[in-house]
């Protein structure tokens, strides 16, 4: 790599470094812009606020995601259809579903319902997916204060 002229030996190396760093920056900028542009299209589901503000055409297959409101799950008289309300803190959408719900489908927890919005504003779900949140907690610790939890963990680890 020694050039015949008495040029500083490090120069081409530094040139390459600057070029590669610029190229990488441009590349990441482009990637981030593309991801930014995908923002609304790459969502896996609509939250109730989206669905109420800009309702999809009745019968169009969409997904609705949010929290199952506490005390809202009820079985209809036919014995198989369940009815519950999905909320996001702003809007609420009633959902009906006939089928086997996943084990983690409980009130106060997240859910993603696949189906379509009916003309009367009810969401008819054909499939339910339970959404797990980012909290991992042992069963015994639920509802305990932090201090109680710490004691229990200390006892477990002894």
């Amino acid at each position: 790599m020694n050039s015949p002229r008495s040029r500083p030996a490090l120069k081409p190396k530094h040139q390459r470094l600057v070029l590669v760093v610029l190229a990488v920056l441009a590349l990441f900028g482009a990637g981030l812009l593309a991801a930014w542009g995908l923002r609304s299209q790459a969502n896996y589901f609509y939250v109730p606020a989206d669905m109420v503000a800009d309702p999809p055409a009745p019968g169009q297959a969409v997904r609705l995601g949010g929290m199952v409101e506490t005390g809202s799950i009820a079985t209809l008289p036919d014995g198989i259809t369940i009815r519950f309300v999905v909320g996001d803190g702003q809007e609420r959408v009633p959902v009906t579903f006939a089928g086997i719900a996943p084990a983690l489908f409980v009130e106060g927890s997240g859910v993603v319902a696949e189906g379509a919005l009916l003309a009367n504003g009810t969401f008819a779900a054909t499939n339910l997916l339970a959404k797990h949140d980012e909290n991992y907690m042992p069963r015994e610790l639920e509802g305990m204060s932090t201090a109680q939890a710490r004691t229990t963990v200390a006892e477990t680890l002894e």
Binding site: F28, F45, E134
Partner: protein
């Protein structure tokens, strides 16, 4: 950095380091997995399936970390033209791909009882699958270039370009609504209870040591291949016609 770019000097360090890294990693991983399987209590909602966490999260971390290693080695190769960087990138590709596959498989197994589905095309799952395909492409490209003996610069550029996917995987659950949950461990705080977090961190350390040991072992193999080939070529040239 120049001091370690010398293959002979690298081998002098790598040779005694490989076995302790692999053995230490296996021991730590065995400890963490046994801990996760037999000691840790079930989760309040997920029950027993929470134990998959101790394989899934370290595998995901190494799947992404493996590509970052490829990207850094590619940068070093492009700028400083160090042949050892080429070999390091090639060595990291296979274990990275394996850990990405483990992450996808365990995630799928966890998703069936938790979400109610094996697979969905949400941002996190899709971008992780793209990472696996990027690994396949990189491995095929690097091998083809090595076999032809041509410049490995194209593979290095591929390694740098593919790195764009890593921050997308990382941010996918924040930017978009996804079925996959948002990050549980962020800088300085954790939504994972200590009983789960400690074995998880031990497992991550163990998996990482295994990864390091495998990369060193593979780098030594690739160096030996290069040397053997050079020796054969020299002998063929010296042989009387």
């Amino acid at each position: 950095m120049h001091a370690y770019a010398n293959p002979a000097r690298f081998l002098r360090i790598a040779r005694p380091l490989t076995a302790p890294l692999l053995l230490g990693g296996l021991l730590l991983t065995a400890l963490a997995l046994a801990w996760g399987l037999f000691v840790v209590p079930p989760d309040r909602l997920m029950g027993e399936t929470v134990r998959i966490l101790f394989v899934h999260v370290p595998a995901a971390w190494l799947g992404m970390g493996g590509w970052m290693a490829i990207a850094i080695a590619s940068l070093v190769e492009l700028v400083w033209r160090h042949p050892l960087a080429t070999i390091a990138a090639r060595a990291a590709a296979l274990p990275g791909a394996v850990f990405t596959a483990i992450c996808l498989a365990t995630g799928s197994i966890w998703g069936r009882p938790t979400w109610g589905t094996w697979w969905v095309w949400d941002g996190r799952l899709t971008s992780m699958l793209v990472l696996l395909f990027l690994y396949f492409g990189y491995i095929a490209l690097a091998q083809a270039l090595a076999r032809e003996g041509s410049s490995t610069r194209i593979a290095a550029i591929f390694g740098l370009v593919g790195a764009v996917n890593v921050p997308i995987i990382n941010r996918s659950v924040v930017w978009w609504n996804s079925l996959h949950q948002p990050p549980s461990i962020t800088l300085g705080q954790s939504a994972i209870d200590t009983v789960f977090l400690v074995p998880l961190l031990v497992a991550t350390l163990g998996f990482s040591l295994i990864f390091g040991g495998v990369v060193l072992a593979r780098m030594r193999t690739l160096l030996a291949e290069v040397q053997a080939e050079a020796r054969l070529r020299r002998r063929a040239l010296e042989a009387p016609v």
